[in-house]
């Protein structure tokens, strides 16, 4: 029994690893359609990975071991996070390992390693990227924690499986004012943390504005492939956290039989498709902000989440 549950959890992580490039491809396709361009294939990210894994790795001559370890660490944290987030089922033995706060910590670990690796070569772009990424990070992280506190106040737990249980048990459709605030804040954090358009643009290398890409400039071949894959996984993970908090419909509470699992999988794909489309719409209709407008954007997210908490406390009393 326990063994099967562990295997299920492993399968969920592998599913995330396999699906993450697809999500990235889907978002890119939707963006292309919305901008009247002919879209790249849905499988383009997989092709990119294959290409990168076939290239010779080129390393700067004074790159330290830290630089070479970082892609593995970043990829590893994202896979671990994917194993912990309940995307298909909540019936997972490994979910006890980390609650949502620890998940935020895991993402921070990946970010710090990435920033350190970016500083390792000592190029102007690398340090610039590291500085901006850490800036976005320290603004987004508290906002994300406040979003999680909103969920905590509602369901009395920071463990995502318990949150999903609470949300599914309480009501089918979740309409609470504090959750609305938290939801908007979460979307803003998601955009910032994943290098999406109002803050960063994953498709450009314009030096004045880039953040995430600036940190990857010195990576090539397999290292770059792992970093890119990790970034797609991060988007996938954030989407799944969002589903667990705000749209938990269909997540299987008991995984003893196969049919709820299949239903959950189908619904997950549907939700991912919708979320990817929505992301493409947001990215198309909004303009990239100057780097120094980013703090305003993220402090708005932070304040919205805090407002959600205060609204909840006010309504309770």
């Amino acid at each position: 029994m326990n063994m099967i549950a562990l295997l299920r959890q492993l399968a969920e992580a592998l599913l995330a690893v396999a699906l993450a490039p697809l999500l990235a491809g889907w978002v890119a396709q939707c963006r292309a359609w919305l901008q009247n361009r002919s879209a790249p294939s849905l499988l383009q990210p997989y092709r990119k990975l294959r290409k990168l894994f076939h290239k010779d790795a080129v390393l700067a001559e004074h790159a330290s071991p830290l630089f070479r370890i970082t892609p593995y660490v970043v990829f590893g944290t994202m896979v671990l996070a994917a194993a912990i987030i309940p995307s298909v089922t909540t019936d997972m033995p490994f979910a006890r390992v980390a609650d949502a706060i620890a998940l935020v910590g895991l993402f921070a670990t990946a970010r710090v390693f990435m920033a350190l690796a970016a500083m390792d070569i000592g190029t102007a772009f690398g340090t610039l990227g590291a500085r901006r990424e850490m800036m976005v990070g320290f603004l987004a992280e508290p906002a994300l924690l406040m979003v999680l506190f909103n969920a905590f106040l509602m369901y009395g737990s920071t463990a995502l499986p318990t949150v999903v249980h609470g949300a599914l048990a309480a009501h089918g459709l979740i309409l609470r004012p504090s959750l609305a605030f938290a939801g908007v804040a979460f979307v803003m954090v998601l955009l910032a943390e994943n290098g999406r358009i109002p803050i960063d643009n994953p498709t450009t290398h314009l030096e004045l504005t880039m953040i995430h890409e600036a940190m990857l400039l010195e990576y090539s071949a397999l290292h770059l492939a792992l970093m890119e894959w990790a970034a797609w996984l991060k988007l996938f993970n954030y989407a799944c956290i969002g589903f667990a908090l705000f749209a938990p419909w269909g997540i299987a509470l008991h995984a003893d039989t196969t049919s709820p699992l299949l239903l959950a999988l189908a619904l997950l794909l549907l939700k991912l498709a919708v979320a990817g489309g929505a992301l493409a719409v947001i990215e198309t209709v909004s303009a990239k902000l100057r780097v120094f407008r980013a703090p305003e954007f993220l402090s708005t997210a932070f304040l919205l989440a805090v407002l959600g908490i205060l609204v909840h406390l006010q309504l309770r009393s």
């Binding site: 010779d56 790795a57 080129v58 390393l59 700067a60 001559e61 004074h62 790159a63 330290s64 830290l66 593995y72 660490v73 590893g76 944290t77 671990l80 006890r96 390992v97 980390a98 609650d99 706060i101 620890a102 910590g105 895991l106 921070a108 670990t109 970010r111 710090v112 920033a115 350190l116 500083m119 390792d120 070569i121 000592g122 190029t123 102007a124 340090t127 590291a130 500085r131 901006r132 850490m134 800036m135 990070g137 992280e141 508290p142 924690l145 406040m146 506190f149 905590f152 106040l153 737990s157 920071t158 463990a159 318990t162 290398h205 400039l217 010195e218 397999l222 805090v306 406390l313 309770r316």
Partner: protein, 670 residues
């Protein structure tokens, strides 16, 4: 069977403390011989520290009854009272474990020709250690103040060991001044605490019944006095001056250990000697702590001196600890003992963690300083290639202090956030509104700490060396490495087995709040509130991370062709890359300067467009200097000038004063 030192823990501890003093004295036999003082006596001191930790741990067992001892030393009728209970045991354990690492490092660190002779330095060092242990063990106000002042004085001499430098003398003076203002306040606090029966033992104070007004006075005095030692805003100003001035092992002791004695003092007075107070005690303490934390981390982010950066980061960590203490006081005033226990456990474990990682980082800066002669971040860089050991061990400390799982900094942060999450249960709507903002401040501080530490590590160890002579930097010696590795091991172990730390804290919380914080869960994971609310397992997180990394690594090795070429950095095809193109420490702090502008007083010198030799300078100042300290010093000066009018320098005038005084006194007599 119980071994002798554990059957009689207090006499054993006294012996060990005396052993420190003897070791210090022995150094005076041959004060100039580094081989004798450093290589022989300091490792022995480290062994004594381990002994202290081992005995102290025995006080943390469940079912340990506090031990008391009266030593017929000191003044007639005022013998020394000593007491070993769970609280003092916890802080002694902290002192012993972190002190052992610092002593081993110091054995390899101290050299001749750097200020005070090694023998004298060794004496001051061991007196400092012994006095900290006595502060924690003291059970009467007299011994406490004696040990407290010895601690301040011995550390003053250690700070000013390079007293030929005027800047260091000034730092030492400010430190001594603030230490005495704080000590005065603590003395007055004990004066208020005895409750009218003039017995100065802590036992009598526990039994004394204070009127609410006197209790408020005593609490405020304690908060100010211990806050001045801990570095709370706005009495933090000595800290960023004194920490960088001291030799690195001393900075590590001051930041890692001495600041914790202030936390101990505040806990002892507010939770043990005094009974439950009004809720505003907790709220005020928490708010001051939170502001201090935010203030410290924001200032740390803009520093350009690596030791000053760490000093401000100490202010931040102390702020977080005090905020947790405040939360515990707040919960206790509403009789919510479990929440108080959780917050107190977060404070204690964070204090312990800070002792480990901050000592580790201060010691690492010491190695860097010895290898390069530079403290200025703008002249360092790329040291990971020349000092791989120090860089690797400092990385552990960096990740730990940034609060990243699965290391120890995350554990205490997680506990603190869990404690904050439980506060909506407090039956007071005003506090309910304030406390979520506190949680937000904690989250912001923790995230900013990550920023600061990336700057610290990235600018010192990563990138290209900013100066040519850095390429001749050498790695630390064996003893230094052992000291660093010991502390790094502590960081990892507490992160991976937070259960152990929680169990140790539980005996303290049982004694102080009446509720033991539960580790919950099984041996594999912790869930201090309930498994349904939140759980965390550092061990599984580390195992999972290592497992995934190993699997990915093996898969990549199996399928990847393995061709790797080493070339000059690409840098978008730019060929003329120089080390000066990297971010400086100022550059890395620029977003913080912009976002948190109101915190600082900034003076900029910007070159004109046609300047032949452009020069850019920026000076960042703490606003408290001008806002608080300058008016105070001005007032003191004015008063002194007014008094100086009396001082004429002529004998006749002084005789007149004596005469007048006599007449006035005679008027009273008649």
């Amino acid at each position: 069977m119980t071994y002798l030192p554990f059957a009689y823990p207090l006499p054993a501890l006294i012996t060990l403390i005396a052993a420190w003093l003897v070791l210090g004295m022995l150094g005076l036999l041959q004060p100039q011989r580094v081989g004798w003082v450093a290589r022989m006596l300091f490792p022995l001191g480290a062994l004594v520290a381990l002994g202290v930790a081992a005995v102290a741990v025995s006080a943390l067992r469940a079912g340990f009854t506090p031990q008391v001892l009266v030593l017929p030393l000191g003044l007639p009728d005022l013998p020394f009272h000593l007491r070993l209970d769970a609280l003092s045991g916890f802080f002694l354990m902290l002192l012993g474990i972190a002190g052992a690492g610092i002593s081993i490092f110091a054995a390899g660190y101290f050299r001749r020709g750097e200020g005070t002779s090694p023998g004298l330095l060794g004496l001051q060092y061991h007196v400092f250690l012994a006095s900290m242990a006595l502060v924690v063990l003291a059970d009467d106000a007299y011994l406490f103040m004696l040990a407290w002042e010895t601690m301040a004085l011995s550390s003053y001499f250690l700070v000013t060991s390079q007293h030929r430098i005027a800047e260091i003398r000034r730092a030492g003076f400010i430190y001594l001044l603030m230490a005495h203002i704080g000590a005065l306040s603590i003395l007055l606090c004990f004066g208020a605490l005895h409750g009218g029966n003039w017995t100065m033992t802590f036992d009598a104070m526990r039994g004394a019944s204070l009127s609410p007004a006197w209790a408020d006075v005593a609490f405020c005095l304690a908060l100010f006095g211990f806050g001045a030692k801990a570095g709370l805003f706005p009495v933090h100003i000595w800290l960023p001056e004194a920490h960088p001035a001291a030799p690195s092992p001393v900075s590590a002791m001051m930041s890692g250990l001495m600041l914790k004695t202030a936390i101990y003092g505040l806990l002892r007075v507010s939770m043990d000697l005094m009974h439950t107070g009004p809720w505003w005690w907790g709220l005020v303490t928490m708010l001051i702590g939170l502001f201090t934390a935010l203030f410290g981390v924001v200032f740390a982010a803009v520093q350009t001196d690596m030791k000053r950066l760490l000093a401000y980061s100490s202010i931040e960590n102390i702020g977080l600890i005090i905020a947790a203490v405040g939360l515990a006081l707040l919960a206790r005033s509403f009789d919510m003992n479990l929440l108080a226990a959780l917050a107190l456990a977060a404070a204690l474990i964070h204090a312990f963690n800070h002792a480990l990682f901050k000592s580790l980082l201060f010691l690492a800066t010491g190695s860097v300083l010895h290898a390069t002669g530079e403290r200025n971040l703008g002249k360092l860089g790329g040291l990971i290639r020349y000092m791989p050991w120090v860089a690797m061990l400092a990385l552990v400390g960096t990740l730990a202090i940034a609060g990243l799982p699965p290391l120890n900094g995350f554990v205490s942060e997680w506990l603190l956030l869990q404690a904050f999450l439980s506060t909506p249960a407090i039956p007071h709507s005003f506090i309910n509104m304030i406390v979520p903002l506190g949680a937000a401040a904690v989250a912001l501080t923790a995230a900013l700490a990550g920023y600061v530490m990336v700057k610290f590590y990235g600018v010192i160890f990563l990138g290209q060396p900013r100066e040519a002579q850095l390429e001749r930097a050498h790695d630390a010696g064996v003893l230094e490495r052992i000291g660093l590795a010991w502390l790094a091991l502590g960081c990892i172990l507490i992160g991976v087995f937070p259960q152990v730390a929680l169990d140790a804290a539980a005996s303290v919380t049982r004694a102080l709040t009446g509720a033991a914080v539960q580790r919950g869960g099984t041996i594999w994971w912790i869930a201090p509130v309930s498994p349904a609310q939140a759980s965390y397992s550092g061990l599984w997180l580390l195992a999972g991370l290592l497992g995934v990394v190993a699997v990915v690594f093996v898969i990549v090795r199996l399928f990847y062709h393995g061709r790797v070429r080493r070339v000059p950095p690409w840098d978008c095809g730019y060929r003329w890359l120089t080390p000066r193109m990297q971010d400086t420490a100022e550059g890395f702090g620029q977003p913080i300067r912009r976002i948190f502008g109101p915190f600082f007083r900034i003076e900029r010198e910007v070159p004109a467009p046609d300047d032949a030799q452009p020069h850019y300078a920026i000076r960042i100042e703490d606003r408290t200097w001008r806002a608080i300290y300058a008016p105070i010093t001005a007032t003191v000066r004015r008063l002194a000038d007014a008094v100086a009018v009396l001082q004429r320098g002529r004998l006749a005038v002084y005789l007149l004063y004596s005469f007048l005084t006599l007449i006035v006194l005679l008027m009273f007599v008649i």
